[in-house]
């Protein structure tokens, strides 16, 4: 539906967001729900650090601690980092390629709601008999052994939200392949669009193994199949392989969009085009490709034998080469530029050394015999937090601050932003640097407590102190968001003044049809080229004409709610005393397939914005 109305009641706004198929609004939904899950995961992290602050602590029980670490990992990866990145992709990528929306707006909405309800299923476990407690990796022998329904919540929640992610990935692939504006060749696409493209391909190939693994586990737990029951001829190592064939590309699914965001920011605030653009594209594709060849480095201690270990060790080291290329290209983007330190730029700049730290420990971990020492110790915890916080989370914070004006039409406060930045950065290094040493001093990961007298007390306390700094940083960010939203000072097309790509050539926030006329991209950094020639706007690639737009729809939510309902039936199905489960599964699936049927038989051709309307409202600003 169109969003012409200027002022809407709360109910109308809610309905609008529930039915929207507009990529910009779906982006906001992703950001809000991803943000909420990020806060949840952050609280879990704080509880973990409080428990570990002193030896022999009894802040929480061993069982609760295992639920905490499982939910912290699962939430942060699947429900916070990935959705927030998908949100930024949704908000920015179609604008960057000069498209009016993604290829399948309806699927876009479906993808979001699947992710969201999957996350809700997972988190409801806290209130319905206990959260999953087998770690975010949910290794089969332990997860099959795990009592209660925690692991069932994990399996079903991730299955549902995984479908959502897969749909989003396919959608972005089709969008980038088909909907680039005239002149926007592949090698003129902004770096962030390139990383979105590669990440979508990774999602397409990485999520099916997870789906398979989860299905096998679902069958084991629901129907007593024995895929992972060694005593009955099953094999638990298969789960590890399936999980990591998904899990390793997953870390690239997280980090590549962050690379894209940093590439945009570094170029913008250095007033200089990205150094070595084509080698950056090549490196991105290569990282994506190699990302599938190295999963067994998570399994060096499983006993795969020296041949497998040696091959995967060398393959893993190879990834360092394209990543190194990127690091140097970023530095040389700033080199000779005119560098302005805005908040997004501060994140981007601090990311370079922070991520390099995480990268080099990655190479150290790739050395298989040394990894026998690092594996499953706090060294690994330090390593992947350096990569994920020092890379992905800094990327998210940078991306949010950078694109905030484009998404919401108002600028976050720079001073408060700098406070957030410093608290978060210092806290991050304080929390995780020392953990490298804890691991080398013999502290295994995922321990709910430790005994005094092993030399770990001070370091753990330091780590907890760092976590408090990070929390303060996030709280300041929330205050900043509230203040900014209340003040709501509107900004123009190009609030950072040095925008280079198409999204900065249109109003902030853009009208719901994005581009009145599709722009003509005359090279890399299309908007910059026009600006350098003294023009204020893009050269149009088409005459003004009617614009075809899709209608909103409530059906995506209905499809998802069906699965949501059915998953509770499936969850409790194994309990002999619960007879209501089969009807619930059937009702749920009826809702889902019924909604799909309605979608299939009901023609919905969308609507047209007429040429005349576009001309009448030349400076119309549409409220997002």
């Amino acid at each position: 539906m169109s969003t012409y109305a200027k002022k809407q009641g709360f109910g109308a706004t809610l309905w609008d967001f529930m039915t929207t198929v507009d990529h910009k609004k779906i982006a906001i939904l992703y950001l809000i729900s991803g943000g909420l899950f990020f806060i949840l995961g952050g609280l879990e992290a704080m509880f973990i650090r409080i428990q570990l602050a002193v030896p022999d602590n009894n802040f929480m029980s061993a069982g609760t601690f295992n639920e905490m670490i499982t939910m912290h990992g699962t939430t942060m990866i699947f429900l916070a980092a990935m959705p927030i990145l998908l949100g930024i992709m949704n908000a920015v990528m179609p604008l960057q390629i000069g498209a009016r929306d993604v290829a399948f707006p309806f699927l876009n909405s479906l993808g979001f709601w699947l992710f969201f309800f999957g996350g809700v299923v997972l988190n409801l476990s806290w209130f319905m008999g206990g959260a999953p407690d087998a770690g975010w990796t949910s290794y089969a022998s332990l997860s099959i052994h795990s009592q209660g329904h925690g692991v069932d919540f994990y399996v079903l929640g991730l299955q549902i939200s995984g479908f959502g992610t897969l749909i989003a990935g396919i959608n972005f692939l089709v969008t980038i392949i088909n909907m680039r504006t005239p002149g926007m060749t592949y090698m003129r696409m902004p770096m962030f669009t390139w990383t979105t493209f590669v990440v979508s391909a990774l999602i397409l190939f990485a999520f099916p193994p997870l789906t398979v693994g989860l299905t096998l586990m679902l069958f084991d737990r629901m129907f007593g199949a024995n895929f992972f029951d060694a005593a009955a001829g099953g094999n638990t190592i298969i789960w590890e392989h399936l999980f990591w064939i998904f899990g390793h590309p997953e870390v690239y699914i997280l980090i590549l969009p962050a690379f894209g965001i940093f590439s945009e920011i570094l170029a913008t605030f250095s007033r200089k085009r990205l150094f070595g653009y084509s080698s950056m594209v090549f490196a991105t594709v290569l990282i994506g490709f190699l990302g599938f060849m190295v999963w067994a480095h998570h399994m060096f201690t499983v006993g795969l034998g020296p041949i497998a270990n040696a091959i995967f060790a060398v393959a893993t080291m190879a990834i360092a080469v394209p990543t190194g290329i990127k690091i140097f290209n970023w530095i040389f983007t700033m080199w000779g530029g005119s560098v302005r330190f805005t908040v997004p730029m501060l994140y981007a700049v601090s990311f370079i050394p922070s991520f390099t730290m995480g990268g080099v420990t990655g190479i150290m971990l790739a050395a298989a015999p040394a990894d026998y020492q690092y594996h499953d110790s706090y060294f690994v915890v330090a390593h992947f937090h350096y990569v994920i916080v020092g890379g992905v989370v800094l990327g998210i914070l940078a991306g949010i601050t950078y694109y905030w004006p484009k998404i919401f039409g108002t600028m976050l406060n720079e001073t408060l932003g700098k406070f957030t930045f410093w608290f978060f950065l210092i806290g991050f290094h304080l929390t995780f640097f020392i953990q490298h040493f804890l691991g080398l001093w013999g502290m295994p990961r995922r321990v709910f407590t430790y005994l005094p007298g092993q030399g770990w007390e001070t370091s753990n306390l330091v780590s907890t102190a760092g976590a408090i700094f990070m929390a303060v940083g996030v709280i300041i960010l929330l205050i900043n968001i509230i203040i900014t939203s209340v003040k709501n000072v509107r900004v123009g097309n190009d609030p950072w003044e040095d925008g280079r790509t198409l999204e900065w050539s249109i109003p902030s926030p853009p009208p719901f049809y994005n581009f009145k006329q599709l722009p003509l991209a005359r090279g890399l950094d299309a908007y910059w080229i026009e600006k350098m020639e003294g023009k204020k706007e893009m050269t149009p690639a088409e005459p003004l004409g009617d614009i075809h737009m899709p209608n909103g729809s409530i059906i995506p939510i209905c499809i998802t709610i069906g699965l949501f309902v059915a998953s509770f039936g499936a969850l409790y199905n194994m309990d002999a005393d619960k007879t209501w489960t089969v009807p619930v599964i059937i009702i749920g699936l009826l809702i889902t397939f019924g909604s799909m049927l309605i979608r299939s038989i009901k023609d919905d051709h969308g609507f047209h914005i007429h040429k005349e309307d576009l001309m009448d409202d030349k400076d119309k600003e549409v409220k997002a």
């Binding site: 029980s61 061993a62 295992n66 290794y139 022998s141 332990l142 052994h145 060694a230 005593a231 638990t236 190592i237 250095s270 007033r271 200089k272 085009r273 150094f275 070595g276 653009y277 201690t301 006993g303 034998g305 020296p306 270990n309 040696a310 060398v314 080291m317 190194g324 690091i327 530095i331 040389f332 700033m334 080199w335 000779g336 530029g337 560098v339 330190f341 080099v360 420990t361 190479i363 150290m364 790739a366 050395a367 298989a368 015999p369 040394a370 990894d371 026998y372 020492q373 594996h375 080398l440 001093w441 013999g442 295994p444 990961r445 995922r446 709910f448 407590t449 092993q454 030399g455 350098m532």
Partner: protein, 363 residues
């Protein structure tokens, strides 16, 4: 400006070096204080890779600092910098040098991977089917406790792993319930104990390094295995070859003539034990009974109660009274009914007197 930066860098470098030198951890459980060949090789690899990586970091940081200091935008500067596309020469340099560095690293990595996986000595058997020249220990990991079997000597023990120094000690690793991981940080990297099959590895304990650690190393379970994963510790007691042999002999002697309790209280304890505990716990070194619980034949000489509590009578009584208070999720709680305090006293007396080496126990 520049000198200040350089000084600052020097200071931080020193700070890091002190941190590294001062903080090698405890000799009994730090991977940075290698106690034998395996840990030493792994430590060498760590040092090599760290050095290479420090070089990389220094290069990156220097370029980085120059870039952000030299090219800051001055106030009111509206000039447009030259739009550089890239540089083939630079790109070739920063592609080739990392490749060379990685090759330097890859060679020892691959070599050591094969060396450390070489357990062929385990397969060399004499005519009785015993391993010819190597000490082989079968490790079985269970929910929160460890069993150690010496198949060539026909003896079992648990929680305290006894090994000879200055030779390769070979391990067969497996788990009986869920996956665990066998790790003695000071002696070498870990290997998983799978439920699906047996893994093999070896470790070496240097006698000099063992002395520095008071002949006692800490072992850990390194794979999340349930609530009490953090408490699934074991200890490694190192002995010279002669002491080890005499320990084996005394263990074998007990196996032939299981000990009868001495003293009134201990006898009572033995009766209770035979009624309530023997279903899971063996007290003869020659077998592991049903394999449900740790073998207790030399319990009086163990380093810890339940693998992690101080070895005192008081702790033992508390443990028997309610194991769930100490190791949540253990498989012992609730298996033996409710015991009175008197019964527990008797049991404790009996258990603490289960010794194979007389008075050699070290506290």
């Amino acid at each position: 400006m520049k000198t200040r930066l350089r000084k600052w860098r020097l200071i931080s470098l020193f700070a890091i070096m002190t941190l590294i030198l001062a903080g090698c951890g405890e000799a009994k459980l730090s991977a940075l204080k290698p106690a034998g060949e395996v840990a030493q090789k792994q430590f060498d690899l760590m040092v090599l890779s760290t050095l290479i990586m420090v070089v990389v970091i220094i290069v990156v940081v220097i370029l980085f600092v120059i870039a952000i200091v030299r090219f800051r935008r001055k106030d009111g500067d509206d000039s447009i910098p030259k739009q550089v596309e890239g540089s083939h020469k630079l790109e070739v340099i920063w592609t080739t040098i990392p490749i060379l560095l990685l090759i330097i690293m890859a060679i020892p990595v691959v070599t050591y991977t094969f060396e450390l996986a070489d357990t062929s000595a385990m397969e060399v058997k004499d005519k009785d089917g015993k391993t010819k020249d190597a000490v082989v220990i079968n490790v079985r990991a269970n929910l929160y406790w460890w069993e150690f079997e010496y198949p060539d000597y026909g003896i079992f023990t648990s929680q305290d792993l006894v090994v000879p120094t200055d030779e390769k000690v070979y391990f067969n690793l497996k788990a009986s319930d869920v996956k665990h991981s066998f790790w003695v940080p000071a002696a070498g990297g870990k290997m998983d104990t799978n439920v699906d099959g047996v893994n093999q590895m070896y470790l070496v304990f240097d006698s000099k390094k063992s002395n520095e650690a008071q002949n006692l190393f800490y072992g850990k379970c390194a794979e999340l295995c349930g609530p009490s994963h953090a408490l699934m510790d074991f200890k490694v007691v190192t002995k010279s070859k002669d002491d080890f042999n005499s320990w084996v002999t005394s263990m074998q002697t007990v196996a032939k003539e299981p000990k009868v309790a001495e003293g009134e209280l201990a006898k009572q304890g033995q009766e209770i034990f035979n009624k309530s505990c023997i279903g899971c716990h063996a007290v003869s070194t020659s077998g592991n009974g049903a394999g449900m619980g740790p073998n207790l034949s030399n319990f009086g000489e163990r380093e810890r109660i339940a693998g992690f509590l101080d070895h005192t009578e008081e702790n033992l009584k508390k443990w028997i009274k309610n194991p769930d208070d100490y190791k949540p999720g253990n498989t012992m709680a609730g298996k033996y009914g409710k015991l009175t305090d008197e019964q527990i006293d008797a049991l404790a007396e009996y258990l603490l007197n289960l010794k194979v080496e007389g008075s050699k126990h070290i506290d």
